[in-house]
Symmetry: C2
Subunit: 164 residues, 2 copies
């Protein structure tokens, strides 16, 4: 199968949004996607872009993407976070995901990033095997913590009166 | 105990670096800190700062800090990552950590962030209890994955000749 990988442009955001939604439906959380195509266009292509995207393209159609952004490690320095690596359902198992992954790692290496980080579901053994085979390490002891927008509001409103 | 919380300035980076190193020594990884004071000054106070820091100050001395930066969730939109929340050993259990945590949450709320995320060690029950009590959720199924600088180099050099 022939495909190419390039940086996404603003015009690609409808396709990127479609992939994000496809993954959410696949994970049975279709309502979890709160951002819009316009959000992606605005937040990814402002003067201070919040993310970048590599897309895999076949016959002018976007069939996969790797969305990432910078992070900062207080031990290592500048790092990259791979937020989403998505290949559309009908194009899986053809090497698209691996090619996107390699392209991201090349980008990180060429631009002197000190670490690439991402999250994986602990039951996704196929993905874990692939990552570990590539040299990545799954950290056993660390857990991800999220404060949602609603709980953030509750916590701040409840505690801010105390004054600090 | 009386202390105040404010944004760190470039001049605070030696103190911030000291706190980072103190934590690494406490975690028995003193050699893991590869960044320097100069790195912090440069990467935190350029035109495009890679992070921001709240510091807790008592008698002109920095006794704690919360270092954070922006992330981007493809479901929720703009988010904050809390990279490090550190209180110097001699000033623990006095409410400094809680005050820094609250200040960060206030900042996130006031600036319309859709999520605050961070990582916690799964055996650090005291921290987990505090986070959960505040309304945060520890995600049981997700694992953090890291590709180190050295393994990144190996992977890219080994695979790039294939061409994609």
């Amino acid at each position: 199968m022939s495909f190419t990988i390039r940086f996404a442009s603003k015009e690609d955001m409808p396709s990127v949004h479609r992939l994000i939604t496809e993954l959410a439906v696949f994970e049975r959380e279709p309502d979890a996607v709160k951002i819009s195509v316009e959000d992606l266009e605005k937040q990814g292509f402002s003067e201070k872009p919040m993310f970048q995207v590599f897309v895999a393209v076949q016959n002018d159609e976007i069939i996969g993407m790797a969305l990432f952004y910078e992070r900062f490690s207080t031990w290592k320095g500048k790092a990259i976070h791979l937020e989403d690596l998505i290949v559309t359902q009908s194009k899986r198992k053809l090497g698209v995901g691996k090619a996107l992954y390699l392209r991201l790692m090349q980008y990180a290496y060429e631009n002197d990033y000190k670490r690439v980080a991402w999250d994986v579901l602990d039951w996704n053994q196929g993905a874990i095997d692939f990552y570990e085979h590539s040299g990545a390490t799954v950290l056993k002891e660390w857990r991800v913590v999220h404060m949602t927008e609603e709980n953030l509001k509750n916590y701040v409103e409840k505690n801010s009166h105390e004054g600090i």
